[in-house]
């Protein structure tokens, strides 16, 4: 079984392909922010170099965020389109799970944090368990101070990964016992996506493409106050 992974939750755009034999090929570009222009040619290039036909792919895995809207829209739309066209199911996995996965062998509390812009972070917390990393708290959106306070309250050694730690290095200096902020662990990887999706695919934990939704943590129920004075034709 081959899985195509699509990852566009941050400024990075990536794709990977793999299955029983692990990750067979991957592509990542963290410069340029041209998700639309890059993603589909990257998938095509990767498949051609790995001599894999799209018809050999059994499932599409996609990073559903939280992350940057401009990227997520591209990845989720591409995943839906490929899923419909190839008549194969999809698997949605969170960007924060993907950040925690490669560092799962640490004994520290794993804290992925993605730069949510406007002074906020998307973050969560994980702990090593046999076979992976288990999420301890919900996916959250908050300021770097919010995260630093939560980490201080926990008072344990932690490893902060993701571009959030690079943008707000103060988290690492303010919280004693915190480490991380490396460029190598800054972005979710499409290879991790394929690795995490594989056991889910074996258990047939799929979602239908029309059920696939990006994970938007910022919510607003407010109606826009279009006043009569604004003379808006409805």
């Amino acid at each position: 079984m081959l899985i195509l992974g699509i990852e566009t939750a941050t400024i990075q755009v990536g794709c990977a392909i793999g299955g029983h034999e692990g990750v067979l090929a991957s592509f990542h570009a963290a410069k340029g922010r041209r998700h639309v222009e890059t993603l589909v040619p990257a998938i095509e290039f990767m498949c051609r170099q790995a001599t894999i036909e799209l018809s050999e792919i059994s499932a599409i895995a996609v990073d559903v965020g939280p992350g940057l809207f401009s990227g997520l829209r591209v990845g989720v739309a591409a995943a839906k389109a490929l899923s419909h066209a190839l008549r194969i199911p999809t698997i949605g996995i969170s960007s924060l799970d993907l950040l925690a996965f490669p560092v799962r062998y640490t004994n520290r509390l794993i804290v992925p944090a993605i730069d949510a812009r406007r002074g906020e972070l998307f973050y969560s917390m994980y702990r090593q368990v046999p076979g992976g990393a288990q999420r301890l708290v919900p996916y959250q959106v908050g300021t770097p101070d919010d995260l630093a306070s939560e980490l201080l309250a926990r008072g344990e050694d932690c490893l902060v990964v993701g571009d959030g730690a690079m943008r707000y290095p103060a988290i690492l200096t303010e919280v004693s016992g915190a480490e991380g902020g490396d460029a190598t662990s800054a972005f979710p990887s499409a290879a991790s996506l394929v690795e995490l999706a594989h056991p889910q695919a074996l258990r047939e934990e799929f979602v239908q493409p029309w059920e696939l939704e990006p994970l938007y943590l910022r919510k607003s129920d407010a109606e826009i106050n279009w006043t009569a004075a604004m003379d808006r034709a409805t």
Binding site: R117, R118, Y216, R218, S220, T227
Partner: protein
């Protein structure tokens, strides 16, 4: 508050181009005013002032357009939106945090969802068919340091 009068669409564009000369990365400009008062004309002049060569058209139906000038320019129109969630879904947070200058038509309607740091340009129709009154005010800390330069930039039209 600066009040300025323009007498033609071209005049409104010229004023906007002068304002654009003061724009800095991350700036937000809120365009307010009824239909047909020249919000898009202002955006066109502003874009030209930023060195955008591409033609700027109303983003009313596609919601967001991006242009490359001296600074990147993002032009939004929220006229078609019903809820603040749609503004969030447009990725407003990342649009405003990308070093671009952002112009929002009908931005006054969604002010609660915007950072309290912007330049508001309100356009009103006056007696003559193409006469416009522009009221320019600063909200938040970003523009007051440029208030004097702004006043000088639009002095030609001030009333």
């Amino acid at each position: 508050m600066i009040r300025a009068a323009t007498t033609s669409v071209e005049d409104t564009r010229a004023l906007a181009a002068e304002v654009a000369g003061l724009a800095a990365p991350g700036d937000l400009i809120v365009l307010a005013g009824d239909l047909g008062t020249g919000k898009t004309a202002f955006a066109q002049g502003f874009a030209k002032g930023l060195g955008v060569e591409e033609a700027v058209t109303s983003p009313a139906f596609i919601l967001v357009r991006s242009y490359e000038g001296r600074l990147p320019l993002v032009h939004l129109d929220v006229y078609r939106l019903e809820t603040m969630q749609e503004l969030v879904d447009l990725g407003i947070a990342e649009l405003l945090d990308d070093g671009a200058v952002t112009l929002i038509e009908w931005g006054d309607a969604v002010a609660p969802g915007l950072p309290a740091d912007f330049l508001e340009v309100r356009l009103e129709a006056k007696e003559g068919a193409d006469d416009r009154l522009l009221s320019i005010r600063t909200v938040g800390p970003g523009w007051p340091p440029r208030a004097r330069a702004l006043k000088e930039a639009v002095a030609k039209w001030s009333i």
